[in-house]
């Protein structure tokens, strides 16, 4: 038997407050980075109101640490609540928000704290590459030395040949995101880059180069989530979570009928649009998972911002820059805001939160709806959120 059914349950869910650490190469440990983000989020909120904590962390390798639920509860003065870690590689942060959303919507928690954190820079590039490779299929990918960058590179190789995009088109994504990050004081990089610098940068996995790739970063971000009644009491600027969707695809891109179609991203976005009652044209600002430049382009297509095979033209035509039709990665994206893996999903949400509440300073984009697409592996777990004021 194959059953299809829908359930209508629960209350409207809001983000009532957020915080994010400065992202970059930091000397602090992950619990200290978490506390930096929490301190910002607790302005005006009493920590005693928090009754659940969900923590997105990618790997135990970096700090030789598991049990992040207890760890951050202890360091944050939040013991004796429901607290645990969730993980879907680089989608862990948005997964923590999804868990908080479910907890509030179901009545398990009145105020839930979603945490994303990663402390990576104490390890070398090879060790980080190895820890991230655990997100791919062991036999198909790991035993063949197919790193995560190599997966995205294989997508880029095929995309460029099928659709006529060039290495310049991919580097243009990095140039745009660095330009955005130059206005973001919390970004890993505040410096602009030129197309030539990107094209000249060393190869990571051809055709992708260092400047097509997100950096290895440290950082943390948190969100406080509550139902409508509590949200109205605790803040004047609640941001509603209109949709929160998680979808899984294969670990290895080799097992997808069409590797260039990130189906989990498309499925997550389609369900999120349906939940929110909006379409791609209504999105006023988006944060998408540009772990590598090619993926921002693939996401334009899977999110319905561009037709298949035409995503790279949005960058050529300036449609996704600030002031364009649909500004994407105004924070600087993973590429330039930085990519502390477990924190990234909530860093994306933090950026939307700033814009929707009018606090984004020089890079402010006025929008009613914001979309965040966070993914883990190689679009293997996609998490879509749509926020609104």
């Amino acid at each position: 038997m194959f059953i299809t059914y829908t359930v209508e349950i629960g209350m409207n869910v809001y983000i009532i407050s957020m915080g994010m650490s400065k992202i970059g190469k930091r000397k602090e440990s992950s619990k200290e980075l978490f506390f930096e983000a929490l301190t910002e989020a607790l302005q005006g909120v009493d920590p005693r109101d928090i009754d659940a904590v969900y923590v997105g962390v990618q790997s135990e390798t970096y700090e030789h640490q598991i049990m992040y639920g207890s760890l951050v509860s202890e360091y944050g003065g939040l013991l004796f609540r429901e607290a645990y870690r969730v993980e879907a590689c680089a989608a862990s942060g948005a997964l923590a928000l999804h868990t908080a959303y479910m907890a509030v919507r179901s009545g398990v928690a009145r105020v839930a704290l979603a945490v994303g954190v990663e402390k990576m820079t104490a390890k070398g590039t090879e060790e980080v590459t190895d820890a991230l490779m655990a997100a791919s299929d062991y036999v198909l990918d790991q035993l063949n030395g197919i790193t995560i960058p190599a997966h995205y590179a294989m997508l880029a190789t095929r995309y460029m040949r099928l659709y006529g995009a060039t290495e310049e088109d991919l580097c243009a994504v990095a140039v745009k995101n660095h330009e955005n990050a130059s206005l973001n004081p919390k970004a890993h990089f505040q410096k602009r880059i030129t197309l030539e610098e990107c094209l000249r940068s060393r190869p990571v996995a051809r055709p992708l180069k260092v400047m097509d790739s997100a950096p290895i970063s440290d950082g943390a971000a948190v969100a406080l989530v509550a139902g409508e009644d509590v949200a109205r009491k605790l803040t004047d600027t609640p941001v509603r979570i209109l949709a929160s969707v998680v979808v899984a695809d294969t670990l290895s891109i080799s097992q997808r009928p069409d590797p260039l179609w990130p189906r989990a991203v498309w499925e997550a976005a389609a369900r999120a649009y349906r939940q929110a009652g909006i379409g791609p044209r209504d999105v006023g600002i988006a944060e998408v998972h540009d772990a590598f430049t090619i993926n921002e382009v693939l996401m334009y297509e899977a999110l319905g911002f561009a037709e298949r095979g035409k995503g790279y033209l949005l960058v050529r035509e300036g449609e996704t820059q600030r002031g364009g039709r649909i500004p994407v990665n105004v924070s600087g994206g993973l590429k330039a805001r930085g990519h502390p893996v477990g924190a990234t999903g909530l860093a994306q949400i933090y950026e939307l939160y700033l814009h929707l509440t009018g606090r984004a300073g020089k890079r402010q984009v006025n929008a009613r709806y914001g979309l965040a697409l966070n993914e883990g592996g190689v679009n293997s777990t996609a998490v879509a959120h749509i926020l609104a004021v």
């Binding site: 590039t125 198909l140 063949n144 190599a150 294989m154 996995a205 080799s254």
Partner: protein, 116 residues
């Protein structure tokens, strides 16, 4: 762990009921829950896409070329041992070889692709 090497060739599974193929082999089809039968894969395939790895995890020695190869009914990722990125193109034919593992202690034998 189910490994795909059988002598000097690679194996996949075919569902006895729906005909779906699985690589590496598995005993049962997750759609039908029916038993599978093992099938030998062709010794030559076609490149779907490829890259050349320059930064790796300390166990593989870059640079090396990786590819996803259409090998009969399945897609198989692997290392191409005799080509650089600039030599490669989508649609290239490659042969499968099985030999002593070039990079890892385990498994002691592994498969590689040779561009024709």
């Amino acid at each position: 762990m189910s490994l795909p090497i059988r002598g000097d060739t690679l194996a996949a599974s075919r569902c006895a009921k729906c005909g779906a193929h699985f690589f590496p082999p598995r005993h049962r089809c997750p759609s039908c829950m029916a038993d599978t039968v093992e099938v030998e894969l062709p010794r030559e395939g076609t490149v779907l896409t490829f890259s050349e790895v320059h930064v790796s995890n300390g166990r593989f020695r870059p640079p090396y070329v990786v590819a996803i190869v259409e090998l009969g009914p399945v897609r198989v990722p692997g290392i191409v041992i005799n080509a650089t990125y600039d030599d490669m193109e989508i649609g290239d034919r490659v042969a499968v070889i099985v030999e002593r593992n070039r990079y890892l202690d385990e498994p002691d034998v592994w498969y590689y692709f040779v561009k024709k």
